[in-house]
């Protein structure tokens, strides 16, 4: 029983990471209707900025979060200008963007590998841990859970209550109709792309003290995020959050009874079953 409670808490914190990475991915898909292969590298760059902020600039950990948002946001703006905005209008634009963002993901990965090398790095976050009855939770994981939840709530308010949010949702429904009513679709697209990258960067900077920074952390994480996005429904924010956290908890619970390999097989089977039975995902609307 104690172990069950501990595994649920473990799963919640791992699931929050999946949810935050999947959130940006699904946002871009919902609004721009493109699959952004560079998303995992924005997550990795967020972690990288946290490492450099601590090692090169000697900044305290909390300062690295806004820095990660600024640096990765700027990088995402550049990627959008070069590889997304100009291509998405083309006749085969959606598949072109798939390839151009993939090219950028390789560029960002190898660029980081070139600057930093293959060695992993440790970032000090909030040290220490505390006990809640039989359950142990580290301060950093508590921070991820609390700040992640606040971030999700903030995004939800932004999407439903602000002008920018309404413009994004209009674009998600119909790019053409949004353009007709006078929305600057290219500009909103860029802002949505930068916003998604900023969320990924925050996730990377929050996770780096837990999973360690390594240039590979982006490509390792983004695969799980893709699973979450498909399960939750491509473009669905609620789907990404619920399925991300659900997947984390499911993995942790399965590990009690199944070996790691079998547990992964179960998750990927779920993915195939979902595509066959309910291709729009749990929270997606049928086309």
């Amino acid at each position: 029983m104690d172990m069950l409670a501990q595994q649920i808490v473990n799963g919640l914190s791992a699931g929050m990471a999946y949810a935050l990475v999947a959130l940006g991915l699904t946002l871009i898909f919902g609004i721009l209707h493109v699959i952004n292969f560079a998303h995992g590298e924005f997550f990795m760059l967020g972690g990288f900025v946290a490492v450099l902020a601590a090692k090169w600039l000697g900044l305290p950990y909390l300062f690295s979060l806004p820095l990660a948002v600024a640096v990765v946001g700027a990088a995402a703006w550049g990627v959008d200008r070069i590889a997304v905005r100009s291509l998405v209008q083309r006749r085969d634009g959606l598949s072109d963007v798939l390839l151009s963002t993939y090219a950028f993901s390789l560029l960002l990965y190898h660029g980081t590998l070139g600057i930093w090398g293959p060695a992993p790095a440790r970032v000090e976050g909030f040290e220490g841990s505390f006990d809640l009855g039989p359950v142990t939770l580290t301060n950093q994981r508590l921070f991820i859970l609390a700040f992640g939840a606040a971030l999700i709530a903030g995004l939800q308010v932004m999407l439903t209550r602000t002008r920018f949010g309404r413009q994004m949702r209009a674009m998600a429904q119909s790019r053409f109709a949004a353009q007709v009513v006078g929305i600057d679709v290219a500009g909103i697209g860029t802002r949505a792309y930068v916003l998604a990258a900023a969320v990924a960067a925050l996730a990377g900077a929050m996770l780096a003290p837990v999973i360690l920074f390594s240039p590979l952390m982006g490509s390792n994480t983004v695969i799980k995020a893709f699973v979450v996005v498909v399960l939750g429904g491509m473009g669905s924010v609620a789907g990404a959050v619920v399925c991300g956290i659900g997947l984390g908890v499911l993995e942790a619970l399965m590990s009690l009874y199944l070996s790691e390999g079998i547990a992964s097989a179960v998750i990927y089977s779920l993915l195939i079953a979902m595509l066959l039975v309910r291709p729009q995902g749990l929270f997606g609307k049928a086309a």
Binding site: D2, M3, Q6, Q7, N10, G11, S13, A14, A17, G117, P118, A119, P120, R122, S129, D131, T136, T138, V210, I211, L212, S214, L216, M217, N220, E251, A252, S255, L256, S259, E260, G261, S264
Partner: protein
């Protein structure tokens, strides 16, 4: 005018001949080095090899003053790339002796190629037992094998550590699975948890929670990725899992300790080398390496170093840099002084250097365990 240009011609001809003669007398001895040099371990191994060449050249070279020249290629842990690189060394670069490498699969492929072309291959780090079992007397290996490590370490765990319940956390690889099988045999019902993790896994909370739930008082880690075992040690500390921490022989290094921080304190292991060994060779090796690369060398650097060092000394003893049969006989027939002490080779070409050194992490440093 005419006379002047004739003079100039003669002068330049004389210089050219002089240079050619000089170059002939001093033609360098080329040694091939294969390493996955874009990876951290590959880079460490290559730097060890480079230092060996540098020290030999500083001592005046071999075979009457000839300098060592390394020709190195990246193998990227891939047998196909390793074989292509070895072929380039043998056919284009005119190299007769190949050294280095980390990966066993690459080494197995290169050993076959060496056999087919009469070359000498001195493998540095690969651990698979079959590397030296190809039935070719010009293949050597410097690292210890998993079986050699196990035969000593098992007794140490069983008789000195005396755990009541044991958990093994192993990477999902040959090495990890072999370790689990071995521990099952060794501890039987005392082995209460045996879990594997994927080579790209980065969150270990659920894994460690399971090991903690098993009630083990000794946790053995079997994984060569330092970021993974370093992180597992941290999570053990965070979840207040107080079991003793053991790393299977050959995997403990200072970068892993750095990642684990204070969670590594008291963790123990065993290995063939530790930089604090007291002998003149080792002091020179450590000082020169630290001066050149700003890091303390460990086992991988040592094995890269030895592969070039022993090969070059054997060429000197055999009196040839070309005749691989004679060089192989010299390697097998002599005892070699290296930074880890005396190294000798058995009939299969497997190196050994006495018992493993038992290691423990103390005040953030890896030091030999007091016996």
């Amino acid at each position: 005018m005419k006379q002047a240009s004739a003079m100039r011609f003669l002068a330049s001809a004389a210089i050219a001949i002089g240079l050619a003669g000089h170059a002939f007398a001093q033609a360098p001895v080329k040694i091939g080095v294969l390493m996955p040099s874009k990876s951290l371990v590959g880079k460490q191994g290559l730097q060890g090899a480079q230092l060996a060449a540098e020290l030999i050249n500083a001592d005046g070279g071999i075979l009457g003053g000839r300098k060592i020249e390394l020709v190195s290629y990246d193998t990227n842990f891939q047998p196909t790339e390793g074989v292509a690189a070895a072929q380039r060394l043998l056919n284009q670069d005119g190299v007769k002796v190949i050294t280095g490498e980390i990966s066993s699969t690459v080494a197995l492929a290169v050993a076959q190629l060496a056999k087919a072309s009469g070359a000498l291959f001195v493998a540095a780090v690969p651990k698979h037992p079959d590397v030296t079992k190809g039935g070719y007397d010009r293949v050597f290996r410097l690292n210890s094998t998993t079986a050699m490590d196990g035969s000593e370490f098992d007794g140490f765990l069983k008789n000195d550590i005396k755990p009541t319940k044991v958990a093994v956390l192993a990477e999902n690889s040959d090495f990890g699975r072999l370790t689990i099988a071995n521990m099952k045999q060794l501890f039987g019902a005392q082995l209460v948890a045996a879990e594997t993790y994927e080579m790209n896994q980065s969150d270990f909370n659920t894994l460690v929670t399971k090991a903690k739930g098993s009630g083990a008082d000794l946790v053995c880690l079997a994984g060569s990725n330092m970021e993974q075992y370093g992180n597992i040690l941290r999570v053990q500390e965070e979840l207040k899992f107080a079991a003793r921490r053991c790393l299977m022989p050959g995997i403990l290094n200072s970068r892993g300790v750095q990642i684990a921080g204070k969670a590594a304190e008291g963790a123990f292991s065993a290995d063939i080398y530790v930089p604090t060994i007291q002998n003149a060779q080792n002091q020179r090796f450590v000082a020169a390496y630290t001066a050149k690369f700003k890091e303390t060398p460990e086992k991988i650097e040592l094995l890269g170093f030895e592969s070039v060092w022993i090969t070059a000394q054997a060429m000197q003893k055999a009196g040839t840099s070309e005749d691989t049969v004679k060089i192989a006989q010299a390697i097998r027939g002599n005892v070699w002084n290296t930074p880890r002490g005396e190294v000798r080779f058995d009939k299969d070409g497997q190196a050994s250097s006495g018992p493993l050194i038992r290691l423990v992490v103390k005040d953030g440093k890896i030091v030999p365990m007091a016996r």
